[in-house]
């Protein structure tokens, strides 16, 4: 390791110049990252909140202060409520499904099933494909009549269905795509964590006669809690961040059945150019994300069992 020998910890006080310079060094080191973060995360977040209290600047009229007008308009906007409820349902389905499947996949790949490398490959492949690319493929899957799903269901005699054009099924279809995309990625994290679980625990449990399910529930799962928290954070972020498949497959339709908040923000901000209203919607999204973050850390932090 570069010819350094670990010396025994005789108290070696740092040379005086370092002790004085530490705070300066600290901030200097932090500076580049801090500047970028401030410019592209903190400042925009604050600016968004400020902008939501002004009107949209147009070519002939600058922005004027309108107080809570934008918020009132938002509360009265049925599309906003649809997008909000859609997003909650969407997140509520995607997150648990993805995590559960990721865990199951990891357990399988870690276990003694035949053909594990192929399984792992198959589960992970969706991660390296751009969502925008696979959304087109899924569009084919869901095409009524000759699409793959209808062809498969047809083998069982189930009639064809307009999956993406029916507002009852459209969101579920998109949920499936999102779960398919992310489960494999989270599987890797669980896999890494599982491989750190000592096999002696399993042996001890087997000797004691514990069933596999019992072992999983009482030993494995709690040990995986840090990973679960980590994966949960990512899953929550993706549930609100990933709208590529909506852009390709449904553009928010039919009749806003698949509109998610970020997609609506994109529509309002870059199709209608109503930047003030887009800022208002963004504030709602920020609040939602902040609440979720708080919730995760408060509730789950208590239940984590560190080794």
């Amino acid at each position: 390791m570069h010819g350094l020998e670990p010396k025994t910890a005789a108290a070696v006080a740092p040379p005086p110049r370092l002790r004085f310079a530490a705070p300066i060094h600290g901030w200097l080191l932090l500076l580049p990252a801090a500047v970028l973060l401030a410019t592209f995360t903190h400042y925009p977040a604050v600016a968004t909140i400020v902008d939501s209290f002004y009107s949209t600047p147009k070519a002939r009229r600058a922005a004027i202060f309108v107080g809570a007008d934008n918020y009132q308009a938002m509360l009265g906007d049925p599309v906003f409520w649809r997008a909000l409820s859609n997003n909650i349902v969407y997140a509520g389905c995607v997150i648990p499904l993805t995590i559960a499947l990721a865990l199951a996949m990891a357990l399988w790949v870690n276990g003694k099933i035949a053909g594990r490398p192929l399984l792992r490959l198959s589960f992970f492949t969706p991660t390296v494909l751009p969502m925008i690319a696979v959304a087109n493929i899924w569009l084919f899957f869901y095409a009524p009549g000759y699409g793959l799903l209808d062809q498969l269901l047809g083998l069982f005699g189930i009639p064809s269905h307009n999956w993406l054009g029916d507002q009852h099924t459209a969101l579920i279809c998109l949920i499936a795509v999102a779960v398919w995309k992310d489960a494999g990625f989270f599987m890797i994290f669980y896999l890494a964590a599982l491989q750190q679980v000592s096999p002696q625990l399993a042996e001890a449990a087997a000797i004691e006669g514990a069933s596999r399910w019992y072992f999983f529930r009482r030993v494995t799962f709690p040990l995986l809690m840090p990973t679960t928290l980590f994966v949960l954070v990512n899953a929550v972020i993706n549930a609100f961040r990933l709208i590529d498949h909506i852009v390709v497959m449904t553009q928010g339709g039919p009749d806003n059945a698949t509109a998610l908040i970020l997609f609506y923000i994109y529509e309002v901000g870059f199709k209608f150019w109503d930047t003030a209203y887009a800022a208002t919607l963004t504030v709602v999204l920020l609040i939602l994300l902040a609440l979720l973050a708080l919730g995760q850390f408060l509730i789950l932090d208590r239940r984590i069992h560190y080794q």
């Binding site: 350094l4 499947l101 492949t125 494909l129 751009p130 493929i137 972020i237 994109y266 979720l292």
Partner: protein
């Protein structure tokens, strides 16, 4: 005892079947993409084993849009972002891990904020900033919001914190300044984390779509995802053969890289201790 064994084996067989079924479903989109890409349009919805093979779709896809330029743009983009991230996050993590200064903990909380408030959510404001800076439609404009990555800082801080202090002090005693200590002691020890993080970052930014869509206008800056979407969304109708050919073309580098390095991929995650 034998009944238990038998049922155990039955359950195991069921589980294997289940796992395989799931894997089959999972690989289906890619398998379909392959099918549609190597057969003519007429067969994109009909799975006839005797259908003729063709490479024409790839040729058409390649000619229909400047994919070579898109590849270059994407490559430049992910490289630039990763390089910046490695430098910035290392410095920041080092500061958080080993330096004590006023406001450090508050600063760290502020950094963590970015984990939840990612740049993708702030598209409207960030677009305005880019506009004000005059760098809309440039590759750096795509990358700037992501270069200071809270995730990277968090990971590296954790890693740096777990480096034994003795090594740090030993190096200092040899007369190394703080930066030299960083480069000689901390960075080498954090190699698995760097690899794991690098893989995540490259894959994320290779596939990023919404922000690049908004911030780029021209062919010279468009990454693959945006180029693919523009190419695939012709109003005249969807030709899956050409679209899947383009999809495979654009995903190929990542796919191949993963196929070759999956073992290292998983291992680096393990060694990084991300759990």
């Amino acid at each position: 005892m034998s009944a238990l064994q038998a049922s155990g084996r039955g359950a195991a067989a069921l589980e294997t079947a289940g796992a395989w079924l799931l894997a089959l479903i999972w690989i289906l989109p890619l398998a379909y993409a392959l099918w549609a890409a190597i057969h003519p349009s007429a067969y994109s919805a009909h799975f006839v084993p005797s259908a003729p093979l063709t490479l024409e779709n790839f040729a058409r896809a390649w000619n229909a849009a400047p994919f070579a330029r898109y590849f270059l743009n994407t490559f430049l983009l992910v490289t630039m972002i990763l390089a910046a991230q490695l430098v910035l996050c290392t410095l920041a993590a080092y500061a958080f891990a080993r330096f004590s200064f006023r406001g450090r903990d508050l600063a760290f909380v502020l950094v963590l904020l970015q984990l939840m408030i990612m740049p993708d959510v702030l598209i409207v404001e960030n677009y305005r900033t880019m506009s004000a800076l005059g760098i809309v439609d440039t590759i750096p404009a795509i990358g700037l919001p992501y270069m200071a990555s809270a995730f990277g800082i968090f990971l590296l801080r954790q890693t740096f914190k777990s480096v034994p202090r003795e090594l740090d002090e030993a190096a200092r005693v040899e007369g190394a300044g703080p930066l030299a200590v960083l480069l000689k002691v901390y960075v080498p020890l954090a190699k698995p984390v760097y690899i794991a993080y690098g893989l995540v970052s490259v894959s994320y930014h290779w596939n990023n779509f919404l922000w690049p869509l908004i911030v780029t206008n021209s062919v010279n800056t468009r990454p693959l995802t945006v180029g693919l979407q523009i190419f695939a969304s012709t109003d005249q109708g969807i030709d899956w053969s050409v679209i899947t050919a383009a999809t495979l073309m654009t995903s190929a580098p990542l796919l191949v890289a993963f196929l070759l390095f999956q073992r290292q991929f998983v291992q680096s995650f393990m060694r990084a201790g991300i759990r």
